[in-house]
Symmetry: C2
Subunit: 109 residues, 2 copies
């Protein structure tokens, strides 16, 4: 069990995907995404292993949910500054999105 305080340590924000490139250096099918997290946080590079499930066109311009305060991680030579939230496993993966458009950087609670 977790408390509301535990939950509040995880900073989830709405981001908009503004660029999608193949992450050529990775062995797995990954994208290098540029995500706009709003005025306060700005743009971030996020590496995501969803290239076998989503096309570039599926992703470009979409609003997604990002863990904004995750420790940076080097993924096959690119520093990923955050993580997209998705449900499911393998090829049955579904990204989380807000059901209505909302301002980039909006906090999730």
């Amino acid at each position: 069990m977790v408390s509301i305080e535990d939950l509040s340590k995880i900073e989830l924000r709405i981001g908009r995907i503004i660029d999608v490139q193949d992450h050529e250096g990775a062995r797995k099918p990954m994208y290098k995404l540029r995500v706009n997290l709003g005025e306060e946080l700005g743009e971030r590079i996020i590496v995501a292993g969803i290239r076998n499930v989503y096309s570039k066109e599926d992703l470009l311009g979409k609003e997604i949910v990002c863990v904004a305060n995750l420790e940076p991680k080097l993924i096959a030579g690119i520093e990923s500054n955050g993580m997209l939230l998705a449900a499911g496993e393998g090829e049955k993966v579904s990204l989380l999105m807000p059901d209505k458009e909302i301002k980039e950087g909006s906090r999730i609670h």
Copy 2:
């Protein structure tokens, strides 16, 4: 900053809203939702303060994102066993949903 381990303590699951009732006992506009979290977790009652933003018809049958291991909380006489994730504040609230239908109970990571 948080680590992947911190994040993994929060159990987020896809649930389907199978019943929506006004929470009559609450001073704020709240719903008492029945949510199906899949075979392993079953059904839960979740109280959510989104009645000024979403109609019953908006919610019924929809897949949402639920904090499944949150400490139960008594909200105006009803025990809420979980929390829906939403972005934004006040009347600018947008629930998080999977962008494609996915099995109830699917884990988010």
